[in-house]
Symmetry: C2
Subunit: 468 residues, 2 copies
């Protein structure tokens, strides 16, 4: 890359919402990468030179045009709740903050059209109010995260038990994307091409409009159940998700003593050896839920949101699931980190159990049940007691050796956090949409070093720390 | 059974809506058993002595009390669209016609409470109008069939591709049932006990109120596709249903030349060797549908309800599927009958293909893709060119020998049309709710002959033909 002309870029954006105050630029240069001690070591202290918050697509185009002209790197952020360092500006430059582009533009039966900076919870509020609808999938950071960040930086979450993941056909309808060129183009992206820019960390285009499907909104009954036996809890959830007539939105299993040790408001109601299950069940499915649960001797409902006597409301149960589990553990024990594990659909219960036998309590199982390719599958956001990087790498390798796929959250590149191989569609589109390589530099190995062998953690040579 | 006192019963019901006119009693004593040449041979000409149409539950109780007192058999009917002779009064007596109990009583988010005589299409009209909702599951006789008949005599249908079958937990919430005793009781039945009376042909209680879940109503796009290769069409549908992010309501495969020979309004648009697929896709899933379909070279959309130039509207595509396929074939070739086949979820495509190799064209494959226990499965309503009963039995046996389960639609008993074994829950409840055995006599073998060995077709000894 040519050296950026930061001053000229800022000057050219004087009519836009630009922030150059060091404290707030620093804040807006961070995301939740610190869930990982490895990323914390690598990414702490990285800051942009300035932040710009466009109010609409025309201003996005202006920003990209100016930054292109002055060779300024552009890292896009929503709320910065990602955990892979997606929104960290590795090479300084501009943070493109989409917080002002937060309109819900259209709502129709089964779909909505929104701007990327809209909070997930605000979309739900608008669509529920409008026509009793809600988004299918959301991250556990629903209350604070943006839809653009979720789509560009996430893979799935709550609702995955019914709808699968964001990559599955039908879960994103259309993305409108601006390219990083001398004359930025605006592209409408649908179909197979969605994979070019969804989950690409903003490395190959800026999403300015999103069309996603909606599901009916219900007053979900949120539940905690306790079990004494881990396998029974897993089996219970697996079977429940296999009940095609039962409408549920979340099924999560926490190995003991996760709930007792890390879930402050749940702890008074469980013992250290309690395996806890979190569920969201449609109100009209509660009768079926009772029927189903009575088949499992060990299932004990300790909390349901529509009928409980807990002294302190625990909040949404989904704020204990997905990566909120890690967050809660981290707050109690800063040495906790996590791994993202794919247990697949063939025999996930056995594979989870094998990992538990190999690693508990160094690694505690936190399992999310989801639909995967039409079958019931499991994924883990396992809690890991961190000792050092070598041991963490060893744990990763041992998982992979047993057939448990790792999406490594201790890496900041798309490839290392994914399948450790070049995504040709994303790379090809970056060549077309970001010829200077200015979008979120350092996040796509294939762009920087096509021959990278993945034998060690990639270290982007352009890392630019604040103090440097 | 003690000999019934028909005259006394009719006398006691003089204040009710009673029909004794021979022509209309004959009509109301029939259902669609004639899809089966075997049942036609056995059941043709059977008639009740009279028909009574209660206006409400209190009148149902009155009818049952009177019939109990006078030992009059009671066979309950909705619209009489069943194909297993469910509504045929084998021993004469009273036909309890629920056509006047057709109110939609309550509609809530995700559920409705209705009377049993309500037409499926009328529930949909009311719930759609009220709050954009519709029933999850319905038979292809949606336009004419009642919800009570569907639940008491059916097992599933359109929507099964998403929600599984009626027996699956969550697809029926509650049934209100009146018993056949000296003092009839009214029972609220939920949970595991639902299996006592759902799909029991009214042999052990009369359903007077039904609570079922609802799904969001969409303006489903109805499609026909053609393929040149049968296996590709099966695979296409299997994979499509496995797309968790794609909201569809029907996926049906018709072996060639079913569409050309039997689907009059489709025939001009297909060749004799065209395998045809019928689909219902949510409008907001059409973009995903295009993406998915483009992956299959052989998939050719020949009709979509929202955009077509067919000279004659083909009607609802679901009126080509499920048992409407058989109906359409029968109208063209009266020698056609059918079998109901379960291909399961393990390797249904191979099993369907094996049956096709063994029997085509004597048996033509008509396959419905459904969810079964959390997995994608297939069932068949295969078209059979009927020669004689011995060959039909042989075809059944050959299916079973290969692991394809047969739900034999050429039998009028619950057991023979099901799993050929006593359903202890249904039997036990009949002992309790119908001590005189007056409800739909002859339909539950276990009641009549507990030691029946299923080595031949059961022949109810109480059969009473009109002329006798």
């Amino acid at each position: 890359m040519t050296a950026p002309n930061i001053a000229a870029a800022i000057e050219a954006m004087s009519h836009l919402e630009v922030d150059t105050k060091p404290a707030s630029v620093k804040t807006k240069s961070r995301d939740f990468f610190w869930y990982s001690p490895v990323l914390k070591d690598r990414l702490d202290g990285l800051v942009a030179d300035f932040v710009v918050s466009p109010r609409n697509e025309a201003e996005v185009i202006e920003v990209l045009k100016i930054c292109y002209e002055h060779d300024v790197p552009v890292t896009t952020r929503g709320a910065g709740t990602g955990n892979y360092g997606q929104a960290i500006p590795l090479a300084g430059g501009c943070v493109l903050h989409l917080n002002l582009m937060n309109a819900v533009k259209e709502i129709h039966p089964g779909r909505t059209i929104v701007e990327p900076g809209c909070l997930l919870k605000d979309i739900d509020a608008a669509t529920k109010e409008h026509s009793g609808q809600e988004i299918r999938l959301f991250s556990s950071t629903w209350a604070t995260a943006t839809i653009g960040g979720f789509i560009a930086g996430g893979s799935g979450g709550v609702g995955g038990v019914r709808w699968g993941g964001l990559r599955d056909v039908g879960n994103i309808i259309r993305l409108r994307v601006v390219t990083m060129e001398a004359e930025p183009r605006v592209l409408e992206i649908t179909g197979e091409e969605l994979h070019r820019v969804s989950h690409a960390y903003g490395t190959n285009g800026i999403i300015t409009e999103i069309e996603i499907p909606l599901a009916p909104a219900y007053d979900w009954v949120e539940l905690f159940l306790s079990f004494k036996d881990f396998t029974e809890a897993l089996t219970y959830c697996y079977d429940l998700v296999g009940c095609d007539g039962m409408l549920i939105k979340l099924a999560t299993v926490f190995e003991a003593p996760i709930a007792k040790d890390y879930f402050q408001r749940v702890a008074p109601y469980v013992e250290a050896d309690d395996v806890v299950v979190a569920l969201m069940v449609a109100p009209h499915a509660m009768s079926g839920f009772q029927t189903f649960s009575a088949r499992y001797d060990g299932a004990d409902v300790i909390y349901r949101s529509d009928d409980h006597d807990w002294a302190r409301h625990p909040g949404h149960v989904f704020e204990y699931a997905w990566n909120h589990t890690t967050l809660r553990a981290l707050k109690v024990d800063p040495s906790i980190t996590y791994l993202q594990v794919g247990y697949g659909t063939d025999d996930p219960i056995s594979l989870v159990n094998k990992m538990r036998e190999m690693f508990s309590p160094e690694v505690l199982q936190h399992v999310e049940v989801t639909r995967q390719g039409g079958r019931v599958g499991m994924g883990g956001l396992s809690l890991v007691k961190f000792s050092d990087e070598a041991r963490l790498d060893e744990i990763v390798a041992l998982h992979e050796a047993e057939g448990a796929m790792i999406f490594n959250p201790h890496r900041y590149t798309l490839e290392e956090g994914g399948r450790q191989s070049t995504d040709e569609r994303q790379l090809e589109f970056k060549r077309e949409a970001d010829p200077k390589g200015l979008l979120n530099p350092g996040k796509m190995i294939a762009w920087d070093d096509p021959d990278w062998g993945y034998d060690q953690m990639y270290a982007y040579p352009g890392l630019r720390k604040a103090a440097e």
